[in-house]
């Protein structure tokens, strides 16, 4: 829309720049830090001129952090793998369970359907620490503590409600007549679900899956309590960089860059498809 006066336009440009700088600065700064040694990071005043080094990444992937006078063994690659395993599995499981459930909530009005849907959403409201302690005790007793299965199960608390509520909205936006038309053509309701509802809600399911993936990837507190070193995701693993002999800023920065890269790339890749999916048929005469 273009109804602004020149002054309004300039002010708008300035405001946008401020916002972009505000949000992009930490990311850029972290990226720059990851190519510097601790010494150059900590010099005062800070400077943008430095000799780039890949040492931080080398140390991370090699698993050996060399600090001031000591060497620390870290399992960063293992942590990264754990993050992938936990996020991918929990999102897949949540899609498998959540999409049909979302469809049921969107299409069928059964007794208590609103209450059940709301209860599921309310898991998002509860502070995680509230459920964590009892959960940790249970998990220890039934042997789920420190297992992938246990963690994936707990991750459902984060991802399932998200997927359920987003996808439900998309299903509700599809006219039931379109599905009726498919059934009247002689196809079963399950075929109508698979061939009509699923593809039409596709962009929504993708969006929900992506969002859930990011939430799962960034989760910290569940894994901190319920997983020990060999099952830890990167979010928890990065704690190891705070050592007794100092904080390894360069390596933390490199770890952050590496751990954020998958979600960032995924979002960038999916963005195009999401926007395409959402803007279909938006032009009207």
């Amino acid at each position: 829309m273009d109804h602004a006066s020149p002054l309004e336009r300039i002010l708008r440009g300035v405001a946008l720049t401020v916002v972009v700088v505000f949000f992009m600065f930490p990311l850029v700064w972290i990226l720059l830090m990851s190519f510097q040694t601790n010494e150059t990071i900590l010099r005062s005043p800070p400077s943008l001129v430095f000799q780039p080094t890949l040492d931080n990444y080398r140390a991370l992937l090699g698993g050996r952090l060399v600090g001031a006078g000591s060497t620390l063994q870290v399992s960063y690659v293992q942590n990264l793998m754990n993050s992938v395993i936990l996020s991918v599995s929990s999102v897949s499981l949540a899609l498998l369970l959540g999409v049909p459930a979302a469809y049921a909530f969107a299409r069928f009005r059964f007794r208590g359907s609103e209450d059940i849907a709301f209860t599921l959403l309310s898991f998002r409201f509860a502070p995680p620490l509230l459920v964590l302690l009892p959960l940790a005790l249970y998990f220890q007793q039934i042997g789920l503590a420190n297992t992938y299965i246990g963690l994936i199960w707990v991750y459902q608390l984060i991802v399932l409600p998200l997927i359920l509520w987003i996808v439900r909205g998309y299903f509700e936006d599809i006219s039931p007549d379109v599905e009726y038309a498919y059934r009247l053509a002689g196809h079963s309701w399950f075929a109508a679900f698979r061939k009509i509802a699923l593809p039409l809600a596709g962009p929504g399911i993708a969006a929900a899956g992506l969002l859930a993936f990011i939430f799962a990837w960034n989760n910290f507190v569940f894994a901190l309590v319920l997983a020990s070193a060999d099952k830890q995701p990167v979010t928890v693993g990065a704690l190891a960089f705070i050592t007794a002999s100092g904080i390894q800023f360069g390596q933390i920065a490199a770890a952050i860059v590496l751990s954020n890269a998958p979600t960032l790339l995924l979002a960038l890749y999916a963005q195009r498809h999401l926007v395409e999916g959402l803007s279909l048929g938006a032009v009207k005469g």
Binding site: M1, D2, H3, V283, K284, G285
Partner: protein, 375 residues
């Protein structure tokens, strides 16, 4: 208030400009609306009428050209600053407000006194038959009721221009007929200027002083309903306006023995004494040679001495009969005011009076003549 209210000067709307496939949804539209006039933008979906309305309202940027309202250039102003009231096709009522509050909300900006607000809401409610639902919420209303509430919210304002987007699409036919008359009366009585977007020509005919017929983003004709009916500027307007639509046939014209002969497909021919056509009309038709002939269904006469046709369908509608017949390789439709006693398969004769013939250029579709008059 008289004189020009709204003036569109070579207004275009281009979607995806600079992209690989820019789409001209509205193409160099010139249009003026006089103060106190009701103008209808009429066309099928995708013709550019809604884009035009949204540009006037300020919901779409104008790609090229300018829009002036009351002499003031408005196409760069924000919607709220244009002094334009709009009723949306999709109702867009505020859900947490009752119908009364929704309608009164439009008066907030005018700072009207509570008594004045009550009086005007009551007037609008009367006009639109929504008195009984004034204190209900939009979510509990039918589509037709919501649409009337939305219409009320637009009509209650004292704006320089009222824009109505398919204002009666959801109403049932009986109510629609009634409201058309009342709304026209209301608009005229209050001296409002209104632009109405519709795909329904009956609505445009009933409400508008002038109708702008659009197709493919272009203005086809902008004239009074009577002129659109009697003197369509081209084939598009000719066949678009009129219910049932105008019958059209390709023809080639020739003059022999003082008679004008129009040859149609399948050996069908229409033969007129040359005096039946004004000399300049005859001359224009003969100069083209190949033309398209148009005749309105109610101007077709069933005449045993006429050209042969075979009845395809006979549909009696109470006060009139529509008879469709195979004629000259196409379908010819006639309207009879009595109940026509012909059945499918019957042979009949059809005749057209020369003063009822509309002649179009076979290539461009532009009108050549209407009866005795040159286009």
């Amino acid at each position: 208030m008289t004189g020009q209210a709204l003036d569109l000067d070579r207004v275009s709307k281009i979607y995806g400009a600079g992209g690989a496939k820019p789409v001209r949804a509205v193409d160099r539209l010139d249009m003026d609306v006089r103060a106190g006039e009701i103008v209808a933008l009429l066309g099928s979906s995708g013709c550019g009428k809604t884009s035009t309305l949204r540009m006037i309202a300020g919901f779409e940027a104008v790609s090229e050209g300018s829009i002036r309202l009351g002499g003031r250039e408005i196409h760069r102003l924000a919607p709220a600053k244009r002094g334009v009231a709009m009723a949306f096709e999709g109702y867009s009522l505020y859900p947490p407000l009752t119908v009364r509050e929704n309608i009164a909300f439009a008066l907030k900006a005018e700072k009207a006194s509570p008594a004045e607000v009550d009086r005007r809401v009551a007037e609008i409610a009367d006009l639109l038959d929504i008195g009984p639902i004034l204190d209900r919420y939009p979510s509990g209303l039918s589509g037709g009721q919501q649409q009337r509430a939305s219409l009320g919210r637009a009509l209650i304002r004292r704006a320089a221009l009222h824009l109505l987007d398919e204002p009666m699409g959801q109403l049932e036919p009986q109510l629609r007929t009634l409201l058309r008359g009342r709304i026209k009366f209301f608009v005229k009585e209050h001296g409002l200027t209104a632009i109405l977007v519709t795909h329904d020509q009956t609505e445009a005919n009933a409400l508008a002083d002038r109708i702008a017929v659009m197709e493919g983003g272009r203005l086809q004709q902008f004239d009074t309903p009577a002129a659109l009916r009697d003197r369509p500027a081209n084939m598009f307007t000719g066949t678009f306006i009129g219910e049932p639509p105008m019958n059209v046939f390709p023809a080639s014209a020739a003059l022999s023995d003082g008679r004008l002969r129009l040859s149609l497909p399948e050996e069908t021919a229409l033969d007129y004494p040359q005096a039946a056509f004004a000399p300049e009309v005859r001359e224009a038709i003969l100069r083209r040679g190949r033309v398209t002939l148009g005749v309105r269904p109610h101007a077709v006469r069933l005449d045993p001495a006429g050209a042969p046709a075979v009845v395809l369908a006979n549909q009696w509608l109470g006060d009139q009969t529509h008879v469709a017949a195979r004629f000259a390789g196409g379908v010819l439709v006639t309207v009879e005011h009595e109940r026509a006693r012909v059945a499918e398969g019957d042979g009949v004769g059809v005749a057209f009076a020369p003063e009822d013939l509309h002649v179009f250029d076979a290539e461009t579709g532009d009108a050549i003549s209407h009866g005795r008059l040159l286009a």
